[in-house]
Amino acid sequence: MTGLDDFPLWAAILVSLLLLAGSALTLLGTIGLVRFKSFYERVHAPTLGTTCGAGGILIASMLFFSVLQSRLALHELLITLFVTVTTPVTLMLLARAAIYRDRTEGKAKIPGFQNDVPPSSAMASDARPDDPG
């Protein structure tokens, strides 16, 4: 952290604000992970950290290195893209796994599709819960 005294003040303030906002949102997301009562509520919590939390810190990092090296540093965009594309996929996989486990144990009250569809198609859709739709 030496040699930063000629770092412009506006950039320092902006980087600091983005860093603090990003890490605060990530912390709030994990607090939600601890606080929420059921698994399906907890699925929502980490998305705070992976959208605006990660976004804030990655933009801060981009801004910092762009100002420090006085050229555009955009490689953090790759992580942003990667995180925003992959976390929905993992969360969806997890939610499907959880609902499959809960249904086979008959534990949680999860609405199926049986309510207002003809019984034949409802049975057909229940027969293969891992249908890649």
Partner: protein
């Protein structure tokens, strides 16, 4: 064109990724182009279903709508977590009938819904077009159904179908 370069978009984005990871120079551009070309041929061996994008001009609009929604729902969910038990809150499942049948459009819709804090995609049945989502703060079930149908599904079916 298709014979020489099977996936032009994939090749271009791979070259861009290579240049972002390394610094820009002519050598890196050539090396990245060689790798991207090889990777796009490797992709043909997998034979993925090719998405057909009909409306390119809608994509930036969808992107900014989603960005704004993610920002707003971040603030809303942060408020819910901060308030804790002081406010009564009813999480719940919502079943949404969808007209959108395009696989790529459904995949994009799944990513949008799950990436937005407050809604999570649980499962979709292709044979009756019904989607099950979980909502963190469920006030009005009908409002959620209309929101997702009118805000995202319509735009996605315009882009892909």
């Amino acid at each position: 064109m298709r014979r020489v370069l099977p996936y032009p978009l994939l090749t271009a984005s791979l070259i861009l990724m290579w240049l972002l990871l390394n610094s820009f120079s002519l050598g890196h551009l050539l090396l990245g182009a060689i790798f991207a070309y090889g990777a796009s041929w490797a992709m043909t061996a997998l034979q993925p279903a090719k998405p057909r994008i009909r409306r390119w001009d809608m994509i930036p609009r969808l992107f900014f709508v989603v960005l704004g929604d993610i920002f707003r729902s971040n603030i809303a969910v942060a408020g819910i977590i901060l308030q804790g038990k002081r406010r009564a809150r009813t999480p719940g499942f919502v079943i949404i009938p969808l007209q959108l049948r395009d696989r790529t459009g459904l995949a994009v819709l799944a990513c949008i819904l799950t990436a937005t804090p407050g809604t999570a995609w649980i499962e979709y049945h292709a044979d009756n077009g019904r989607l099950l989502i979980h909502v963190l703060d469920l006030v009005d079930e009908q409002a959620w159904i209309e929101l997702i149908r009118d805000r995202y599904a319509r735009m996605l079916s315009e882009i892909f179908e």
